[in-house]
């Protein structure tokens, strides 16, 4: 590991962790989204230390360019309201979860610390567009197509879920509600 990579690793890892903590800790969703953005870009840097140039680019493009922007859109749509104070009962649950997760993370992390590895020189073209694409479009073609279909389905699904009711549907709903109310009102009268 060259010193540059060494430094880059520490730098990026530290920023990513900080961003992650920011994401989950900030009261305002918008701040959380921005922290997430930081984390994601830092992760792209980590990918670079791992000779995954293409993936680093995709990380920035897809996550920073699309996903986070989507988050921001939604935040803008529904208003950047901070979290309300929670019911006291659920705090216990969440503290339990926090402690549990912390224990697990510690267990895993300490187990992983000593995992041995050897830096080997990657073959030429490792992590480049040519290298990854060459494999993706040959060996992983079927999963690739499936992922494509998944994305399409997700888009259609997202549209179907998120769209608001049309005028006629709203009218129909209203009519039904009125009828229900009327019958509910009629019930006790009898």
């Amino acid at each position: 590991m060259t010193d540059a990579k060494f430094l880059l690793f520490f730098f990026c890892a530290a920023i990513a962790l900080a961003g992650a903590i920011g994401t989950i800790a900030s009261k305002l969703p918008l701040r959380a989204a921005m922290s997430l953005l930081v984390t994601i870009i830092a992760l792209a840097g980590l990918y670079l230390t791992l000779d995954a140039q293409l993936l680093a680019a995709i990380q920035v493009l897809v996550y920073a360019g699309a996903v986070v922007v989507l988050f921001v859109f939604v935040i803008m749509l529904i208003g950047p309201a901070p979290e309300t104070s929670s019911a006291p009962g659920s705090v216990v649950w969440r503290m339990l979860s926090l402690v549990g997760i912390a224990m697990i993370t510690a267990t895993f992390a300490f187990s992983f610390v000593d995992v041995a590895s050897t830096w080997v020189a990657p073959p030429a073209g490792f992590g480049t567009v040519r290298g990854v694409a060459g494999e993706m479009y040959t060996k992983a073609l079927v999963p690739f197509e499936i992922v494509a279909m998944t994305l399409t389905t997700a888009i259609v699904g997202a549209l179907a879920i998120a769209r608001s009711k049309t005028a006629s549907e709203l009218a129909e709903m209203k009519r039904r509600r009125v009828a229900e109310d009327a019958s509910a009102a009629a019930q006790p009268a009898e």
Binding site: M1, F9, L17, A20, I21, T23, I24, P29, A32, A33, L36, T39, I40, L43, L46, L50, A52, I58, V62, A66, V67, L70, F71, V74, I78, A81, E83, T84, S86, S90, L98, I101, I104, T105, F108, A109, V113, D114, V115, A116, S117, T118, W119, V120, P122, P123, F126, G127, V132, E135, P143, F144, V147, T150, L151, T153, A154, A158, L159, I161
Partner: protein, 102 residues
């Protein structure tokens, strides 16, 4: 100091832990979704790092690519659900959304 796979794995597990904590502790569905993204990213780090130490092929990177794609899809659908939820409840706090209970 020799940094190897272990360092990346440790980093990934910590990142995953932060994501998990975020998902469990926060009640804002938006932040929970972001936490999920964090967890997915931590897995990607593991995949890419493992690939780097076994550079015979790009299985890890390709898989990470798929994870990113699925994560994008998941974000899209998740956010759509969130908007629908918001339209229904006028808030996006997950512990108030238990209409489907029983």
């Amino acid at each position: 100091m020799e940094l190897g796979l272990g360092a990346y794995l440790t980093f990934a597990s910590v990142l995953f832990g932060i994501g998990a904590v975020g998902f469990l502790v926060r009640r804002n569905a938006l932040v929970q979704l972001m936490s999920i993204e964090l967890m997915l990213n931590s897995v990607n780090v593991v995949l890419v790092a493992a690939n780097r130490f076994h550079p015979d092929n790009h299985a890890g990177q390709v898989f990470a690519f798929f994870v990113i794609a699925v994560a994008a899809a998941e974000a899209a659908v998740g956010l759509a659900i969130l908007i629908a939820l918001y339209r229904l409840n006028r808030n996006i706090e997950t512990d108030r959304a238990h209409v489907l209970k029983h």
